[in-house]
Amino acid sequence: MNAPVRFQSLTVSGLGISSGDTTIVRDVAFTLAQGRPVTLLGASGSGKSLVAHAIMGSLPAGLVAHGAIKLDDEDLLATSFERTRARWGRTIAILPQEPWLALDPTMRIAGQVGEVHRYLHGRGSAEAQTCMRADLTEVGLGNRTQAYPHELSGGMCQRAAIAVTHAAGACLVIADEPTKGLDAALRDSVVERLRQEVDQGRLLLTITHDIEVAAALGGMIGVMLDGALVEFGPAAEVLERPRHDYARTLIAADPARWAAPALPPPGEAVAAARGLSKRFGERTLFDGLDIAVRRGEIVAIVGPSGCGKTTIGNILLGLVTPDRGEVQRAPDIAQIRFQKLYQDPPAAFAPHQALRQGLGDLLKLHGLPWSQAEASMGRFGLGQELLDRRPNEVSGGELQRFAILRALLLDPVFLFADEATSRLDPVSQKQVFAILVEAVRARGLGLLMVTHEVALAEKLASRILRLPN
């Protein structure tokens, strides 16, 4: 169902966000209008999500926004919290990042969409039912109305969230990292949805670190760096001829534009498996699969999420035992020289432990000197000040680099990078892989990378193993 077009444009001018006396976001200004969506690009920690929540009026406690945010001629910042709240859903809707976390796990999606009609628009339950059905059918979930969030894929959850915003009938939609953690196929479908929103005459503001998403959405692109909008202009222009250095690096960081790595011929196999098969419950992930990773080569496994990519890596590491098939790891090589990088960097660190502590313990355990750690920190562009922070106080890129550092200290022969950069912005992604490729070249590390980004795999991998769904 089409949203009534009530608003023509959103104008942000001189927007700043501060916590106490420290300013986090500085004079951000842009305008988005019908048919001309805006996409904010930037590393995580650049302040783009804060801008989104400033517009929404849902900044975390302790953060204050100043400046002007005009929806047509109403200044959103000037209104009381009650009016702001009254605007939620009806006028402005936000597509949450990681929607599978944003949906109530104990309620069928029918309920979660229906309640909007029931309690926001005060429709009768029967009417609400039909509307709900319509909304979900429109996003292609007509047959799953009775499903619980945990029974839906990430993309489906995202679409369910979209159905919610439709139900609410908002005409300004803010998509906050809508493709975070989604594989290529799902990502495209979500982007497709967002385009339709624009076609239906909604105002769209998208927050992302994925350049392809920005490109696909068109309209205007803004690039944010350390809380400032360093570049703003039409999509094509920004993507072709970025003016600001960071913008340039950012655009250049798109895997599509990388230079292929020059690798020496690979050495002997460090980890190999023959005739692997694994099933989860009813589903067979793979059957009779062969794989080998040799020193100094990069092997990539690509495929949609849930196809068992990660499981293969874990089998090679010996974390999972296959139902059938045999695994050989290079003999007389210590177990600790087989390492792994995780998709979500914070998840790979003890949340309560300052990085210094963890690193120190590691060095002590293996009798390594601090100097070595410090040296590589320098090389990986990690400041000493990070050491005293907890994992959740460090940006994803930095943390992932730290994880690599941690792994490389043990001089691994095999490294399993499990979606190691899917949650990072292009720049960080590029830095991470630069380090990894260097390690492969210099130390003859065997790298097994699992990803859903075909482009990335094609750019880097010596061999690619494609898994069907």
Partner: protein
């Protein structure tokens, strides 16, 4: 689902077996001549106990070897025959009907009362953390938790029975008699459950799905009713289960204070008088009750929270 039920059944079986044997062995292992104890239990502290004890011994065959007696007692259990109390001579089933019944009434109404008090307060406190409700309820909870039940009971009697004359200070039979003992227990329970509820709500409020529910544009009352309540209920329910257990055996003091013919009271007397069948019966009833409650809670949680979980 079936696995869950099966597990519970297995547990029930084990409970019966273990409780049966344990009660017999333990009670019999206790120092002192059971015949004497039983005689004292029967004929009171003025009677000629030594003489009476000999009759008891003959009557109950306490002179037979222990294993033989254990056999008979377990045999009875196997035939689901709880036997007769060796003190009152009444069939255990009757005793339980009266005394467990009384206790169930008492603790049942206490549970209901505490549910009316605790969780709602916890909800308010959790929604406005650090607000006056939060602090006040914390204070109240601490006071109530630090009062021994019999003191609390006495205070309630003084206030409601003496000062206001609303309820009788003691007795058993009508709902008026039940009011004060139930309140005594309920306050103790609410003290804790309100805090559990408060923390549960606080946790839910900080979840992204609640933030989204708000951003959807739902009015706060709806958000609370449809999203906070259900999700916060999950930990509270599983907590209440444990409470219910402690409640049923924790009532003993309240029972003696308010003159209620309850199971806790009966259990104390049974142990003192070495009334093995009574102890067995009581323990069994409580054990099975526990299994039932636990199962009920499992099902409730399953209904509240559809997410798959391993048992």
């Amino acid at each position: 689902m079936q696995r869950l039920v099966l597990a519970r059944l297995l547990q029930a079986g084990l409970v019966v077996l273990v409780v049966g044997i344990l009660c017999f062995v333990l009670v019999r292992a206790l120092p002192g001549d059971p015949a004497m104890r039983i005689a004292a239990g029967r004929y009171g502290p003025d009677a000629n106990i030594t003489e009476a004890a000999e009759q008891v011994r003959r009557e109950l065959g306490l002179d037979q070897p222990l294993l033989v007696q254990l056999g008979t007692s377990l045999g009875q259990l196997a035939r689901l025959d709880l036997g007769h109390s060796v003190v009152t001579g009444l069939p255990i089933t009757k005793e339980l009907r009266i005394q467990l019944g009384a206790t169930l009434w008492l603790s049942g109404s206490a549970l209901v009362l505490s549910l009316l008090l605790g969780p709602p307060i916890g909800l308010l406190a959790g929604l406005r953390r650090g607000g006056w409700v939060d602090n006040a309820s914390l204070g109240g909870a601490i006071v109530l938790r630090s009062l021994p039940p019999f003191v609390l009971g006495l205070l309630l009697i003084l206030i409601f029975a003496m000062l206001l004359g609303l309820f009788p200070p003691a007795g058993y039979g009508t709902w008026r008699d039940l009011a004060l003992p139930a309140l005594t227990l309920a306050l103790g329970l609410a003290a804790v459950s309100s805090r559990v509820a408060r923390d549960a709500v606080a946790a839910v409020v900080r979840t992204p799905y609640l933030a989204f529910a708000r951003l959807k544009g739902l009015p706060e009352p709806v958000v609370v009713r449809r999203h906070v309540l259900r999700n916060a209920a999950i930990p509270v329910v599983s907590y209440l289960a444990l409470q219910a257990i402690y409640l049923i055996e924790g009532v003993v003091v309240v029972e003696t204070l308010f003159g209620i013919p309850g199971i806790g009271h009966a259990l104390v007397h049974a142990v003192i008088a070495r009334d093995v069948p009574m102890v067995q019966g009581t323990a069994l009833a409580m054990g099975l009750l526990f299994v039932v409650i636990a199962a009920a809670v499992d099902l409730t949680c399953h209904w509240l929270d559809p997410r798959p979980k391993r048992i």
